[in-house]
Symmetry: C2
Subunit: 339 residues, 2 copies
């Protein structure tokens, strides 16, 4: 339901992970998931730790702080967004039969499919409880709104997952459904993450709605960024498709933009390439030329920049603060560190 | 995580399903899950419909009504408890590789494991949203308490599932952990179901706590009842073990009580029988005699009655009403219609 594990996080996000907020999140995560003899706890711990960059909980914390809330008050809720994110990764690894995650055996490989199903469910339930815990400083109505935001994001993730499965290898439908698919599978959780932070930070409705929109645009840019990384992975960054995209038939934005721009004859050929999963002689070179001639990588980059800019524009509701700067920085990072 | 599909529901529960509340629940469920071309919706609909007896949502409705709430106000939340229950069944059918459910192919068989994982997750998220929807008539603090109750029950279900998996074939640990295991895997959701109904029906804390305890005792009795049904399935009701209990090594209360009561030598023999899953010549007859001599079926029945009586005692907090009578009736039905 989420971006591939191959995503590169250049320095801005590394610095953020090493910041005071990052330390706070990691310390609290460790405190909440100590070593125990319980096997279910062990599976959850394996899924959660060592923590990644925790971009989503970081955004919850800074959204709360940017509207005047205390990061410590919303810490539990911030971790709740990570629980939901990791739950989807654990269940996705069963669905996609992925064997590696962050360079280690994926949870279903390490603990079996039954263990992975139950651990994912467990994390989802923990996520909701964490939202409630993170709402002690605000009126209960705000907590209810935050629970609703998480429940809606979860439903969207499921719909996005189901939609992506349906669209694999179907570029006609892919081009039509791409914006909705990435809104569901990536935009919705980023939206919820920021919305929850704002709600539990005590924002007024106009501000929390703006932060929700900010999150959705950031998430959308993040997904397009992930799509683009496949095409920028060579030193020369020529827009050569990573073979994995051709191998799994995933409808990435550059492929879809190229598909939209070309003749019917070229579409038939592109579908044939995807059908044989890029395994034919000259397939990769042919697609590379196609993407270049169609301007598909640049087109995707333009869309990513557009979403990042719309995200930044939403932050105009905030009064200046260090956390507002971090949120601005996240939107800027999305695009500026792409070559 | 839940009682087996083989549970018999004699007339009291059949009558309840045909009551006005039952019609209300079925109508609302149908209204909320219409036919659509969406595949994910289709899987969820297949899992939910046709509805079973809906004992859990029925208890939510009557708990709400018994404390002065309106069944219509809590209807969404009542269905939410069914969503959670069905989600666990769908995921359990993957975990246990069960191929049949309610006489039809189980969801993973009908739609594949990926579809079953996503549909189960989707139902969990819907459950939380439904709790929020069912709380519009009460202060937000009560909704937050109801969300917490559902999140805790979900975590308990996962722990119960993990525990049962660990205890299969291990009667030593089984005897020690049985009460905790059935509290987690069955008691906790019944507890939440009644607690949520009371909270969203507007009960004061003393009353909602009593209804939560009522639910946990009913759920515990319900699970022991399910254990017992395996031993009362012959016309003569002689306490002959259903071969399925020996086949899957599930630690049922009669087996555990027998194990507790017998000599070390007999324990070794019983473990050997379970290890070969009751497939040896004379295994079933030997276990039958063991259970009879240990008074294990009667012992389990006594515990079931004890929980049902403790459940009824908790209802003393209620003022008399038709819904209070239904709750009393459910506790009574647990035991009275067992031969």
């Amino acid at each position: 339901m989420t971006v591939a594990g191959s995503t590169r996080y250049p320095s801005f996000i590394d610095d953020l992970a090493r910041s005071e907020s990052g330390r706070l999140l990691r310390a609290e995560l460790g405190r909440r998931w100590p070593e125990t003899p319980d096997r279910l706890d062990a599976i959850v711990r394996y899924a959660l730790l060592p923590a990644g960059k925790m971009l989503r909980p970081m955004m919850t914390l800074h959204a709360a702080e940017a509207v005047g809330g205390s990061p410590r008050d919303v810490l539990a809720a911030a971790l709740g967004t990570e629980y939901l994110h990791v739950a989807t990764l654990v269940h996705d690894d069963i669905i996609d039969a992925d064997t590696l995650r962050r360079g280690r055996p994926a949870v279903p490989v390490a603990y079996g499919i039954p263990g992975a199903i139950v651990a994912g469910d467990h994390l989802i339930f923990h996520a909701f409880q964490a939202i409630v815990e993170g709402g002690r400083a605000v009126p209960p109505a705000s907590v209810v709104a935050a629970v609703t935001a998480l429940a809606e994001a979860g439903q969207d993730l499921c719909r996005g997952q189901a939609m992506e499965e349906r669209l694999v290898g179907d570029l006609d439908a892919g081009a039509r459904w791409y914006p909705e698919m990435i809104r569901l599978k990536t935009g919705s959780l980023f939206r919820a993450v920021c919305h929850i932070g704002a709600l539990l930070g005590g924002a007024e409705p106009r501000v929390s709605a703006a932060l929700a929109r900010y999150g959705e645009h950031v998430g959308t840019a993040f997904q397009i960024r992930d799509d683009l990384l496949s095409y920028l992975s060579t030193p020369e960054q020529t827009g050569k498709p990573a073979t994995s995209d051709l191998n799994n038939g995933r409808p990435t934005l550059p492929l879809l933009l190229a598909y939209d721009a070309i003749s019917d004859a070229a579409r038939v050929e592109l579908l044939a390439v995807l059908h044989r999963r890029g395994a034919g002689p000259g397939d990769v070179e042919w697609v590379t030329a196609l993407l270049r001639d169609a301007g598909a990588v640049d087109g995707a980059r333009r869309r990513m920049v557009e979403h990042a800019e719309r995200a930044r524009a939403e932050l105009a509701v905030l009064t200046p603060s260090a956390s507002a700067d971090v949120l601005t920085g996240i939107a800027a990072w999305m695009t500026s560190e792409m070559a």
